[in-house]
């Protein structure tokens, strides 16, 4: 187990294994998102109350899931980096944060746009919406804090600590719809219980959620490899790599 973790932590080993894993996640992401989009946009039946505006769910829910999962990812990477000094964990955290911020923005934006025809307002200071907005600010804080130090290591440590503290917001987001009376509806998509929507609406949503997760993994692998090239530029194996490819 420990040997495995340390092997995973070696940038050189990670660079090799991620090259082999990456194409599969890209293929899966493109297929799942393509099928899910066509199905969700054109074939799923219109909602009996919301009409066609419900089709926003197919970008809103996957983005919101990712926004929260990526923040948990930041906290776990931060812990792994602080406790075991594994550099790859910090590189992954550095590249995950902007994607998480983008997903949070997508969730907020698509939700606001969806709110206009559905609730008659694009924004309400209710618990779910407010806690998602806080998530966006936490992401921006983590990104800014990382860049605010003259030494990279200090920035990495500070960003890790903020991610570990900020992760408390994730259960608050998740349970906000149960704890408080909110305009936002409770979770309508779960894998553990029977879908509360018709299966023709549920299947494309499942494909989109899986597709977004594959997209996140593929992009994170790709950008972590970039980060390795950047930070390890003076290492022997990276220089050999540059010579071979050139």
């Amino acid at each position: 187990m420990w040997a495995f973790i340390h092997k995973l932590g070696s940038p050189k080993w990670f660079y090799g294994i991620s090259a082999r894993m990456q194409p599969w996640f890209w293929i899966a992401a493109v297929l799942l998102i393509a099928v899910g989009s066509v199905w969700g946009l054109a074939f799923a039946p219109a909602d009996y109350q919301q009409g066609n505006s419900f089709r926003i769910i197919y970008v809103h829910v996957p983005a919101a899931f990712l926004a929260q999962s990526i923040f948990v990812g930041l906290a776990v990477s931060g812990l792994v980096f602080l406790v075991w000094k594994i550099k790859v964990a910090d590189m992954a955290a550095a590249v995950m944060a902007p994607l998480g911020a983008a997903m949070t923005f997508i969730a907020l934006f698509s939700g606001a746009v969806w709110g206009v025809p559905t609730w008659g307002t694009w924004w309400m200071w209710d618990a779910r919406l407010t806690s998602m907005l806080i998530l966006l600010f936490l992401y921006l804080g983590v990104i800014a804090l990382r860049g605010a130090f003259s030494s990279r290591d200090s920035g990495s440590r500070a960003a890790s600590v903020l991610a570990m503290v900020g992760v408390i917001n994730i259960p608050i987001i998740k349970y906000s719809v149960d704890w408080w009376y909110t305009l936002h509806q409770p979770a309508s998509f779960t894998l553990t219980s029977r879908p509360s929507m018709p299966v023709d609406m549920w299947w494309p949503l499942l494909l989109m959620v899986l597709g977004f997760y594959c997209f996140f993994i593929a992009l994170t692998l790709m950008r972590t490899r970039n980060e390795i090239l950047r930070r390890e530029a003076s290492k022997r194996w990276v220089r050999d790599l540059a010579r071979e490819e050139g």
Binding site: V59, I106, V113
Partner: protein, 67 residues
């Protein structure tokens, strides 16, 4: 098919601005993220190669001088 014609599909039952705004912003950000990552990789590799070439030519120059 939930729609009878392409026109109907594009109009989304009167919800076109909402549906297409949400989808287009999502697509633009995701495609942009991929393009950015590809551009980043290419420019990093280019810099590495340039640096490596410079190191090699300096090495050979030193060898000539020593000889």
């Amino acid at each position: 098919m939930a729609f009878d014609s392409l026109n109907e599909f594009l109009q989304m039952g009167g919800h076109a601005p909402y549906v297409w705004a949400a989808w287009c912003v999502t697509a633009a950000l995701m495609v942009g993220a991929v393009l950015h990552a590809r551009f980043e990789r290419r420019s990093l590799l280019r810099d590495l190669k340039r640096r490596e070439r410079r190191a090699m030519s300096e090495l050979s120059r030193n060898e000539v001088n020593e000889a």
